[in-house]
């Protein structure tokens, strides 16, 4: 085995050099972890969810740790799409990997407006639609739990952009494949499965919920088996690429998602704990392919043995 393995994959028309993507909300606006490694080495970066206008976020406490998990209710705190494009995007110029914007609207029209503004910007390679944030009272998960509205949001974005459209789904539904098929029909070119699971935690001494918002979204290794199951199910239900996300800490976790059919994976909570987690996963996948004589990572995707 001489040549280094080909790790590149295609997600809905976007070619990325390896399947490891930094998940929205865990990588800032793209440059925060630059002291730890060059983010150009990742497959892609999805920046913090952006809305039309800045959002200050929810009152603290916003995070709580649970066994093997992180409960959060940040509330989509962000600087707004215009400030991102004007102030943050120019500094991402030196990063040689696709930048994907995650967008959040309070109304279907706002999603369309966000897509329009992004369409004009060269430095953004794709759009990830957030219809799955559990921590905002308007929009977010509300759109992601109903197949018709999920499709309307997707359609609204797709008709306003030529860039690849990825839809990030919520696990907090009875049957995720119904939503997955609905957004596929509406023009989604890839799916991110999954956002956080609704959860809560209570301090027995004070009898108060540990989050000021009472409930929040659970991430981290605690949700990995559930996220993996959802990816497995969605892969069987749609023909567009699925990006696996949920509790991936190391390359082993990433391989599990690829094996059940994820075309790429996102690293989220792990970035908080080990800022080098994502780049270590890229390296781990590369070394695995070398060891196992895999010349192209695509050979691994969907190769889980079930009979």
């Amino acid at each position: 085995m001489a040549a280094s393995p080909d790790l590149s994959v295609d997600i809905g028309g976007l070619r990325i050099k390896n399947p490891v993507i930094a998940a929205s909300g865990t990588f800032g606006y793209g440059t925060k972890l630059i002291t730890f490694y060059d983010p150009s080495l990742l497959g892609a970066i999805i920046v913090k969810g952006l809305s039309l206008r800045p959002i200050p976020g929810n009152p603290p406490p916003r995070t709580a740790e649970t066994p093997c998990g992180l409960l959060n209710s940040i509330g989509l705190a962000n600087i707004g799409i215009d400030a991102f494009i004007d102030e943050k995007l120019p500094s991402l110029d030196t990063i040689r990997t696709p930048i994907i914007t995650n967008i959040y609207g309070r109304t279907i029209e706002e999603y369309g407006e966000l897509a329009k503004r992004i369409e004009k910007v060269d430095g953004i390679s794709a759009i990830e639609i957030n219809i799955s944030c559990p921590n905002v009272d308007k929009g977010g998960m509300v759109f992601g739990t109903d197949p018709d509205t999920a499709a309307m949001v997707t359609d609204q974005v797709a008709r306003n952009t030529t860039k690849p459209v990825i839809v990030k789904l919520t696990p907090n539904v009875t049957d995720i494949t119904v939503i997955a098929r609905a957004v596929e029909s509406a023009g989604a070119q890839a799916l991110s499965v999954t956002n956080t699971f609704l959860g809560m935690s209570v301090d027995v001494a004070t009898r108060r919920p540990k989050l000021a918002n009472i409930v929040g979204g659970l991430s981290g290794p605690a949700i990995k088996p559930m996220a993996l199951y959802l990816v497995y199910k969605v892969v069987a239900a749609v023909s567009i690429p699925v990006i696996g996300v949920g509790g991936i800490i190391d390359y082993h976790d990433a391989l599990e998602f690829l094996l059940v059919g994820a075309r790429a994976i996102q690293v989220g909570t792990a970035n908080f704990i080990n800022p080098r987690a994502a780049i270590e996963i890229v390296q781990g996948l590369n070394d695995f392919c070398v060891r196992e004589n895999v010349s192209n990572i695509v050979q691994i995707i969907g190769s889980v043995v079930t009979e």
């Binding site: 909300g25 865990t26 990588f27 800032g28 925060k32 972890l33 913090k48 200050p56 976020g57 929810n58 009152p59 603290p60 406490p61 916003r62 995070t63 709580a64 740790e65 066994p67 093997c68 998990g69 992180l70 959060n72 940040i74 705190a77 981290g220 290794p221 800490i249 909570t269 970035n271 908080f272 704990i273 080990n274 800022p275």
Partner: protein
């Protein structure tokens, strides 16, 4: 607990913090834990002060000499030091002594100044570092809630007395401890129009300004609605924060 690192020690400033993790493969506990730097020694040794309260800290007590630990830091802004002509009063409640000890150490080394420090603990058994502070030449007053050592009552009562006795020269206040304590100190300091810096805690997942967990409400009229303890702090000038919601 202390550890040696030339890289960390060379840049560590009083008030800054570290994100620590004992076992790099641990999934439970999952997150790093933030700790103020408590002391810096000449041999590139940094020390943190901890009390065993949960999973993370109980792991610390299992460490032996020459074990290694994963550290990210130094993080955060650190204390603004007083001008040489300003007098400083340091007020600590319980484990809030950690960053203020490092500050006292730095002030005594750099400026050989007169420094007053007020310390509060529940009982005499929990008092730490009093002798070391006296060695630094700090004018120390102790309060214990049960009266087993020093003043009987809260460190905030001691602070009230101390401020009431002040002459016209205005001291600069540095405070760290439980939120209700900090709030009382700030209240008094603001009433007397004293410059006051507080070291704040916040629930944080990363310490690096990406999780946005450690939000703290900014005072009315500030440019931002929330500050983040990890990147805007952990030290804040008291007037920056909205104390009504604390």
């Amino acid at each position: 607990m202390g550890f040696r690192s030339e890289r960390l020690a060379s840049s560590a400033m009083p008030g800054q913090f570290l994100m620590l993790r004992v076992d790099s493969n641990s999934k439970d506990p999952l997150l790093r834990r933030p700790f103020s730097i408590h002391e810096k020694s000449d041999d590139n040794r940094l020390t943190i002060l901890y009390k065993v309260v949960g999973q993370g800290t109980s792991l610390f007590s299992t460490l032996k000499e020459d074990d290694s630990i994963s550290v990210i830091g130094p993080l955060g802004n650190g204390f603004s030091l007083p001008h040489p002509e300003e007098r400083a009063i340091l007020v600590a409640g319980g484990m809030g002594i950690a960053p203020l000890f490092f500050l006292a150490q730095a002030l005594s080394r750099a400026q050989k100044r007169h420094m007053k420090m007020l310390l509060g603990f529940p009982t005499s058994q929990e008092v730490v570092l009093a002798d070391q502070l006296k060695d630094l030449g700090v004018n120390l007053s102790l309060a214990t809630e049960d009266g087993s050592l020093g003043f009987r009552g809260l460190v905030t009562d001691l602070f009230d007395q101390s401020i009431d006795q002040e002459s016209e020269a205005k001291p600069i206040i540095y405070a760290c401890g439980p939120r209700p304590m900090i709030k009382k100190i700030v209240n008094k300091a603001m009433t007397f129009n004293l410059k006051c810096f507080v070291s704040m805690e916040g629930f944080m997942a990363c310490g690096l300004g990406i999780c946005l967990g450690c939000a703290i409400k900014a005072a009315q009229g500030k440019e931002k609605v929330y500050y983040y303890v990890c990147q805007d702090g952990p030290v804040f000038s008291a007037e920056m924060i909205d104390w009504e919601v604390m």
